[in-house]
Structures are given as structure tokens and as C-alpha cells.
């Protein structure tokens, strides 16, 4: 029992990342009808927003402290980050410590900006072209973004820590009456899950309860009619693209402490996220979220030792296997609308 709960918990954080990326992909596909292969790169850029902010905050100046000596006997050179000098050592250190959560604020405008530029500068010219062309041009864009990041940050993963207050692990088992230390779960992953849930809830609420969201939903259902009613639907879809980019970016920001960002992390997630979108149903937002969590949990169940000894290698292929079965038996996906991309 405790093992099962542990696996569900383990699946949730990866599932959250899948769900967030798949949500953005589906938003783009549902609004603009574009298959965006560069979405993984947006996730990666989000993670590097966190890296950038923590680098900016730790920019330091050097002072020589004559009272202390280093191991060679020379006066010790002390590095002090500017933020500590400006805001006092305690508040400054706190800022540096909380760099990743702070990057949420830092990354939203950046990601929306990148989304706007991408849509207006490139994607808009591809509405009328085939899906194959869209895949290819965004694939090229993904390579470019990835290489630009590699140029500035190097090819190695950059460890970016969570705040000290959230680095420990939470003994989940004692809460449910198991022995201590059977079900322990890192705080940050819990934070990630709740954060993802909040973002997903926010996006759904935005679409469901605002006039803007209503127009967007109407546009997703019948773009032409909405356009004939005199509404500038293109502009709203551009904004939705920005939001989708921001969702992917936020997923990346918060993922940085879980997995040190490197320049190709986006590609690794992209393939899986596409599978998630297909399983959930092209163009279905709830489907994308549900499939994200479902596949995340399934993946972590498949990596249990009991399952692996029964079916060796299943943990490596479970997601693809599920996708193949779904595509062949129910091509519209779990929650896809009938007739949407079903051929």
C-alpha cells in the first residue's frame, strides 16, 4: 500500500510537467491549428530564466578582508553579491535563496514576449501551409533556440537549487498512519504539483469565466463565424499563444530545481508531451491535463521493481506503448472531440 502511494506521488511531479507542456501545446493547436515542435524549447527557456535570475542575483564585487587569511596566508578575498550590499546581508541572502520562485515573476513577461514574437514573426505565416511544413519550421526553430541557449550557457547542466526552506522531504507516511520513513516525498515536488495545479486552474478559469476567454472558446469552435461577427480573433489567438508560451515557461522555471537545466531538456520533454497530447486528444484541454497526470503516474508505476521484474524494460516504453494502443483503438484520444483530426 505504501509503495503504491509513493509511486502515485512520484508520478505526480513528472505528470505535472507533462500536463503543463501538453496544456500549452493543446492551446496552440486548438486556437491556431498549428503543431508547435518548438514548445519544448519554450519549456527549456523557462528553466533558463530561473538560471539567469539566480545568476543576476549573485553578481558580486570583491573586497579584501585583511583580518582573515586564506590557506596561502594572503588576505582573504571576500565576494559579496550586490543585492546583499544594497538590501542588507539577510534580506539579500534571502533573495538569492528564493531565486527560483522569484523567477516566476521574472519569466512571465519574457515568455509572453517570446510567444508574441514567435507567433507574429513566424507562425502566422504558416497557418495555411500543411502540418508537415509547420512541424518542420518549428523543429528548425527549436534547434535554433536550443543552440542559442547553448551558446550563452554552455552544454553542461546548471544546478539551480530550491530555497533552503523547501529542500527537505516530507514524511507523508506518518500522516496516513504508516511507519515513519516509508513514504517520504521532497517538499519541492509537492510545491511543483500544487503550482502546476494552480496554473492549470488559472488557465481554465481564464477561459471559462472571462469575456476574453469566452471569445477564445468561440473562436476555437468556429473561427470564421467569430471573425464575421467583427471580432479580431487573430489578435486574441496571438495573446493565447503568449499565454501558452508562459505556461510552458513556468513549467520550466519550477522544474529547474528538480532537474538541472541543460540545453536539450526541452527536446526530451517535447516528444513525451506530444504523446501526451495525442493520448489526451488533439485540441482537448482537459484531455491534455488528464493524460499528462495519467502517463506520469503510469510511468512511475512501471518503474517499480515488482513490475520491472515481471515485464523487463516496461518502464522505458510504457508511455509510447499506451500512445500506440490509444492511437490505434481510439484515434481521437481519451477526451478528443469527434471528427477533430481523426483521420
Amino acid at each position: 500500500m505504501d509503495a503504491i502511494i509513493l509511486q502515485i506521488l512520484n508520478g505526480l511531479d513528472k505528470g505535472s510537467a507533462y500536463a503543463l507542456i501538453a496544456l500549452g501545446l493543446t492551446l496552440i493547436f486548438g486556437t491556431l491549428g498549428v503543431v508547435n515542435f518548438a514548445h519544448g524549447a519554450l519549456f527549456m527557456i523557462g528553466a533558463f530564466c530561473a538560471v539567469t535570475l539566480s545568476k543576476i542575483l549573485t553578481i558580486s564585487f570583491e573586497t579584501i578582508d585583511p583580518t582573515q587569511k586564506d590557506f596561502l596566508g594572503n588576505p582573504l578575498v571576500v565576494k559579496t553579491p550586490y543585492v546583499e550590499a544594497w538590501f542588507g546581508p539577510e534580506f539579500g541572502a534571502g533573495l538569492i535563496d528564493w531565486a527560483v520562485p522569484l523567477s516566476i515573476l521574472f519569466s512571465i513577461p519574457i515568455m509572453i514576449g517570446i510567444g508574441f514574437i514567435m507567433e507574429r514573426g513566424l507562425i502566422k505565416h504558416f497557418y495555411k501551409r500543411e502540418h508537415a511544413d509547420q512541424i518542420l519550421v518549428t523543429f528548425g526553430l527549436a534547434i535554433v533556440l536550443q543552440e542559442v541557449v547553448k551558446y550563452f550557457f554552455g552544454a553542461n547542466p546548471i544546478p539551480t537549487g530550491a530555497p533552503d526552506a523547501l529542500t527537505g522531504a516530507f514524511d507523508f507516511g506518518t500522516l496516513l498512519g504508516f511507519d515513519p520513513n516509508t513514504v517520504i516525498y521532497p517538499y519541492w515536488r509537492l510545491v511543483y504539483f500544487f503550482f502546476a495545479a494552480a496554473v492549470i486552474g488559472g488557465v481554465f478559469a481564464f477561459l471559462q469565466f472571462t469575456t476574453f476567454g469566452m471569445v477564445v472558446r468561440a473562436g476555437m469552435a468556429d473561427r470564421e463565424t467569430v471573425g464575421l461577427l467583427g471580432i479580431n480573433i487573430d489578435r486574441r489567438f496571438t495573446i493565447m499563444f503568449g499565454i501558452a508560451a508562459a505556461v510552458a515557461g513556468l513549467a520550466g522555471v519550477m522544474y529547474a530545481p528538480i532537474n538541472s537545466p541543460n540545453y536539450h531538456m526541452g527536446m526530451d520533454f517535447l516528444v513525451l508531451s506530444f504523446v501526451v497530447v495525442v493520448v489526451g486528444g488533439m485540441g482537448s484541454l482537459p484531455g491534455a491535463v488528464a493524460a499528462g497526470f495519467l502517463l506520469g503516474v503510469l510511468e512511475s508505476f512501471a518503474s517499480m521493481n515488482e513490475v520491472k521484474s515481471l515485464l523487463p524494460g516496461i518502464d522505458q516504453i510504457i508511455i509510447y506503448l499506451v500512445a500506440i494502443i490509444i492511437l490505434l483503438t481510439r484515434p481521437r484520444g481519451l477526451m478528443g472531440r469527434k471528427g477533430v483530426m481523426e483521420e
Partner: protein, 395 residues
């Protein structure tokens, strides 16, 4: 000639001349000159031209003719490599055992994947093939380690049976005694040309494969494949079932990929799982698009173009750049080098990505279309009246 019309015969002859004369044609600069770094006439690179040419020709039979965009062709490449190395391990280093096996196993594998994947089309097909390829890649790394040797890569060890290995047989891949990695060098004036056995082996196979592709393009079967691309629904209404044709195209292109993978292992007796990764599938897509989808010569050009620039661009460094721009004033020189710096050396993939985007955006027909447009620009001034609205398919 050989069942080809005049135009195709000419094309075939051009390809044959390029393939056979490559060691000379690709070495236009004397060895000692400053331009020698642009020479591509060394065996390793030329082998890659030929091998990736075969790979791209095969991919084009599927993507160019039927329009099905597969993102999983690297899996067949990997299967081909593994088959050849296994034949080295079990029998001996003669590639004659491995290559046919590579084609057959890759074909069988393609039949399996294609049968399932071709039930869907469009983006679903792309994702299905991608899923299968990633599955094979992950399995090759984990459970199938006894067959693939996991991360280390499959290679021949001295304790392997090699039952056919003769006493004085070559200890590296060969074709009935023709050792692949041996080559003869001829020095002429300032030039030095390397004629490598392995390269010529690949080149001959490339020519045969190119000939086969021409025949497939011109056959009734090729017409059926085009029909799938241009209007699948209408084809169904005329009473034809498109799926067997698409499946046949998929299997053929899988066999081409298997052969290419086998040749890779024939040049260098190693096989690693990273050959099956989806980035490798992406590479062959790039080659085909860059050269010109659906054209005969396009994929070969694209493969050569990408492999050449990958090699050359990644070798250029800042010192070489400073050498080129030394005629500029100092400040300007540094500035120009600074601007170009991200695009060369390790940044080659950035250049490739940008180039690829530009091609998809502005030149969907690839290099071949670019060439045709240039030709049109030059000729249209002379006889504007003759070629009014005469659009020939890009060949």
C-alpha cells in the same frame, strides 16, 4: 538506356561521374594551400556523403512520393548497423553476409512498424513512427543489452566465434578481401588524392540505389505513390486501396535505411544505440527537405550539403576567421569575427537550424527549386514567350 528516358539517363550519368570522381572533384585545392581546409576528398567524409545519400534517397521514396512524414527512420538505420556487426561477430568480417541481412531485418522491422503506423496519416503518423523509434531506442539501451551491448555499443571482441574467419583474413571489414579502410594515395603536383576502397564500395551501392530510385519514381507503382500524396480520397474512390502501396513504400524506404546503417557498420565495425535516436531521424528529414523533397537528385544533394558543411563549418575557428578578415581595419576585423563566431565551430548546429528554417519558409522545394529559379532568372530574359506557365515537376 537501361529502361530510362534521356533525361534520367543524363541524371544517372551525372550522379555516376560525381560519385566515381568524388576523390578528385572534392579536392580542388592543393594540399599546402590555405584553402585546403575546404577540401572534402578524404575517405571518412566521402563515405558519409554516400551513406547518408542512400539514407536520404530511401527516405524520399516515402516522404517525397507519398507525403507521409516519418520521424522514426533512424530505428531502421540502427537495426541495419546491429545486423552487420552481429554477422562480424558470428561469421567473419566479410560484409557480404551482413549487408543483405541488414536490408532484410530492416525491411521486416519496417513492415511491422509500417503496418501499425499507416493506419493513421498526417501528424498521427509522424507521432506513431516517432513513438516506435523512441521505443526501440530505449529498449536498445536497457532490456536488449544482450543484443545491443547497451551504452558501450556493439563491437567485435576476440572471444567472438567468427566461425568463417580464415587464418590470413583481414581483421577489419572487407568485401572478399577488398579491405574497406585501406586506400591508395596518388600525389599529383601539389594535390594528393585518396582513393579509398570503402568509399568506392559505398559509391557503387549509391549508384545502384539511385538507379533503383529512378525506376521506382518512373514506374506505375511510383505513380500510385504520387496519387496517395496528391489526393488520397480520390484514389480510394477510384477503387484503389492506398494502404498496401504506402506500406510498400514504407518498407522500401526502411530497407534503404537499413542498408545505409549496414554500410556505416561496414566502414567502421561499431554500432551504437544513439544512431536510433530521434535526432538522427530529424537529420534525414533535414537532408531531404534541404535538397528538395520529391525530386530524384535533391536528397543526395541535401545529404552532401549538410555533411560537408557540418564538417567544414565545425572546423573553422576564430584564428582562421582572423586570417580571412585581416584586410579589414583592426576594430572592424574583431567585430566581424565576433559576429560570425557563434555560427562556426561548435555553433554549426545554429547555422543549420537557421538555414533549415529559411529553406522551409522561402524555398519549400529546397536546393533543387533554388537552382531552377536561378536558371529561370537567367533564361527567362532571353525567351520569355517560350516558357509561359510551363511548370515542370522538380526533378
Amino acid at each position: 538506356m537501361l529502361g530510362m528516358n534521356k533525361k534520367d539517363t543524363a541524371l544517372m550519368i551525372v550522379v555516376a561521374i560525381l560519385a566515381l570522381g568524388a576523390p578528385i572533384l572534392l579536392n580542388p585545392f592543393p594540399t599546402e594551400s590555405a584553402m585546403a581546409q575546404f577540401n572534402a576528398g578524404y575517405p571518412d567524409l566521402m563515405q558519409r556523403f554516400a551513406i547518408f545519400g542512400i539514407f536520404a534517397i530511401g527516405f524520399n521514396i516515402l516522404f517525397g512520393l507519398t507525403g507521409y512524414l516519418s520521424f522514426g527512420h533512424a530505428a531502421f538505420l540502427g537495426v541495419g548497423s546491429y545486423s552487420v556487426v552481429w554477422m562480424y561477430k558470428l561469421l567473419d568480417y566479410n560484409v557480404i553476409w551482413g549487408l543483405p541481412l541488414a536490408v532484410v531485418t530492416a525491411g521486416a522491422f519496417a513492415l511491422l512498424i509500417g503496418y501499425v503506423s499507416l493506419r493513421r496519416s498526417g501528424i498521427y503518423f509522424s507521432i506513431l513512427t516517432l513513438a516506435f523509434a523512441q521505443m526501440s531506442f530505449n529498449l536498445a539501451y536497457s532490456v536488449l543489452t544482450p543484443i545491443t551491448n547497451g551504452e558501450t555499443g556493439l563491437q567485435v571482441y576476440t572471444k567472438d566465434p567468427q566461425v568463417l574467419l580464415g587464418a590470413n583474413e583481414a581483421n577489419s571489414p572487407h568485401f572478399f578481401g577488398l579491405v574497406m579502410n585501406s586506400s591508395s594515395k596518388i600525389a599529383m603536383g601539389g594535390w594528393e588524392f585518396t582513393f579509398n576502397n570503402g568509399y568506392y564500395f559505398c559509391a557503387v551501392i549509391l549508384m545502384v540505389m539511385f538507379y533503383l530510385a529512378i525506376r521506382i519514381f518512373r514506374s506505375p507503382f511510383g505513380m500510385m505513390l504520387r496519387a496517395i500524396k496528391s489526393n488520397n480520397t480520390r484514389m480510394t474512390y477510384t477503387g484503389l486501396n492506398p494502404r498496401p502501396y504506402a506500406l510498400a513504400a514504407f518498407v522500401i524506404s526502411g530497407m534503404y535505411a537499413g542498408l545505409a546503417g549496414g554500410l556505416m557498420a561496414a566502414m567502421d565495425p561499431l554500432a551504437g544505440a544513439e544512431r536510433m535516436q530521434w535526432t538522427a531521424s530529424g537529420e534525414v528529414v533535414l537532408m531531404t527537405i534541404l535538397g528538395g523533397t520529391g525530386t530524384l537528385i535533391g536528397p543526395v544533394l541535401g545529404a552532401g550539403f549538410i555533411k560537408y558543411f557540418e564538417n567544414i563549418f565545425s572546423k573553422i575557428n576564430d584564428n582562421i576567421l582572423h586570417g580571412w578578415f585581416s584586410f579589414l581595419p583592426d576594430g572592424l576585423e574583431d567585430f566581424v569575427v565576433f559576429i560570425i563566431h557563434p555560427f562556426i565551430g561548435k555553433g554549426w548546429h545554429l547555422t543549420l537550424g537557421i538555414l533549415f528554417m529559411l529553406v522551409v519558409i522561402f524555398l519549400p522545394g529546397g536546393l533543387v527549386e533554388g537552382g531552377q529559379r536561378l536558371k529561370k532568372l537567367v533564361t527567362s530574359k532571353k525567351d520569355d514567350s517560350n516558357n509561359t506557365a510551363k511548370t515542370e515537376p522538380a526533378e
